[in-house]
């Protein structure tokens, strides 16, 4: 599903963000990517989303070779995955319903299907009653659930979540990851970047640790004896 082969990324200002990273994530996995600030986690996500191109190495995501993908094919590629960000990235003047529906509209889904699928997904994340509310009137946790619904609505095989709990209360963080956990059980691959030990230890999934731009460990589950994931 995701394959990085000897991937390095050096930015134009000379910063080395990733160095010779190789990893494989299979269909149906739930993977935490952890590491301290500036370790290279965000660059890894940007490369997965084809927001950045690698300086060297090969990247395959959802059957697309991201080294060779043409600019006009990028929207098609991005429709095969769902993305959740730390800052939610909801369109402020659109209601929760419209924010979710937007992801379907860009793929030319019929209005009838939109009317059928959006309420279903909003119900799945527990926001059926708040469909007509704009993001500003929702709590952080609710906003993140709208973002999650938006990521889910296209039935993607892969969801990439970049610090999805970074801007919400700890108790709500567990709810969000619990939701991702449930989604994963239905067969969707989840890649989640986080630096919250409690979450990683609680959910016990594969943990890839990145430090100074390299993968320093890739453990099938959280290992307390090695001092967590660091």
């Amino acid at each position: 599903m995701i394959e990085f082969s000897n991937v390095s990324k050096r930015y134009e200002n000379g910063t080395k963000a990733l160095e010779n990273v190789s990893l494989n994530i299979d269909r149906g996995e739930f993977v935490f990517i952890v590491g301290s600030s500036g370790a290279g986690k965000s660059t890894l996500i940007k490369l997965m989303l084809r927001e950045e191109k690698p300086t060297s190495g090969i990247i395959h995501v959802n059957g697309f070779n991201l080294n060779k993908i043409k600019r006009r094919q990028i929207p098609k590629f991005r429709r095969t995955l769902g993305v959740v960000f730390q800052d939610f990235r909801l369109i402020p003047y659109m209601t929760a319903y419209d924010n979710v529906a937007f992801a379907l509209r860009v793929t030319n889904v019929s209005s009838r299907d939109i009317r059928r699928r959006v309420p279903y997904v909003l119900g799945l994340v527990g926001l059926a009653s708040k469909a007509r509310i704009v993001p500003d009137k929702l709590s952080g946790g609710e906003q993140q659930r709208v973002a999650l619904a938006r990521a889910l609505v296209n039935n993607p095989d892969l969801i990439i979540a970049d610090e999805p709990t970074g801007n919400i209360d700890p108790e709500l963080s567990f709810e969000i990851v619990e939701l991702l956990h449930e989604i994963n059980k239905m067969g969707t691959t989840i890649v989640m970047v986080t630096h919250e030990h409690e979450l990683v230890s609680h959910f016990n999934h594969r943990v890839i640790t990145i430090e100074n731009g390299t993968v320093v460990s890739d453990a099938p589950e959280y290992q307390e004896e090695s001092g967590g994931y660091l």
Partner: protein, 302 residues
Amino acid sequence: MKTSSFGYLVKEGTRSLWVNRLMSTAAIGVLAACMILVGAAGLFAANVSNIVSYFEDENEIVVFLQDGIDQKGVDDANLKIRMMSNVSEANFVSNEEALQEQMEKYGEYAWLLEEYQGEENMLPHAFRVKVKELEKLEQTAQDLLDMEEVQEVRVPTEVAHTLLGIRSVVTWCGTAIVAILLVVSLLIIANTIKITVFNRRKEISIMKYVGATDSFIKLPFVVEGLLLGLISALLAYMIVWGGYVYVMEWAGTVESAWLQELYRYFVPFEQVYKVLLASFCAIGVGIGSFGSMVFVGKYLKV
């Protein structure tokens, strides 16, 4: 793109105009102000040009025919003059008519000229000739003088030069002012659109992340720009219209002889409204939609 998607995007563009109403108002204000300045400068130049044209029309060459020329000679001269390409009008003035004109000018002393009537009339027959292009006045005068039937030509060269100078200044200044205003307007408008798009760069990046194509993102912005341009054009048109009609009415009531004389040659609004409206709409819609398209493009590289 499906028709339903197209309809949705047009609706989004319209809605966005209202949602971002503060920036929309600023953009409309800037765009309309620029168009008002351009329109006012254009109308001023058109009026000055019209007035100068009137004075140009009043310019005529007086062509005196040879003394004792017979009717055949007059007919030949008439034909030759009318054949000239730069001649717009030629009116024959017989020596009798010329004497009558002089006597009228003399008023109560007209009796002094009475003895020159009939056989004693010393005045030559003449033609009063108007030219099409003032620039070729001297050449036309020379061509007239070269005719064998012609004894002398009187040309208002100095007046012609002055008028040509005025027209040239007005034309150049008018064009330069309109051009400068257009360039300044373009820069201000470009900046306004740039700020509008910059404020919504996050929104654009969100659209990219959910897999929107560039055209899907651009279309609402283009619709929005187009509407902004159209609203600005109509607003500017209404203001220029109102202002022009007000100035015309004012000029019509001022008790100034020279202004009343000039007033007859002001360009009526009915004569220019189509060009003005079409230009404003073209400028507004063109700048609005094209500007949006270009600047949105800059934020699409996500």
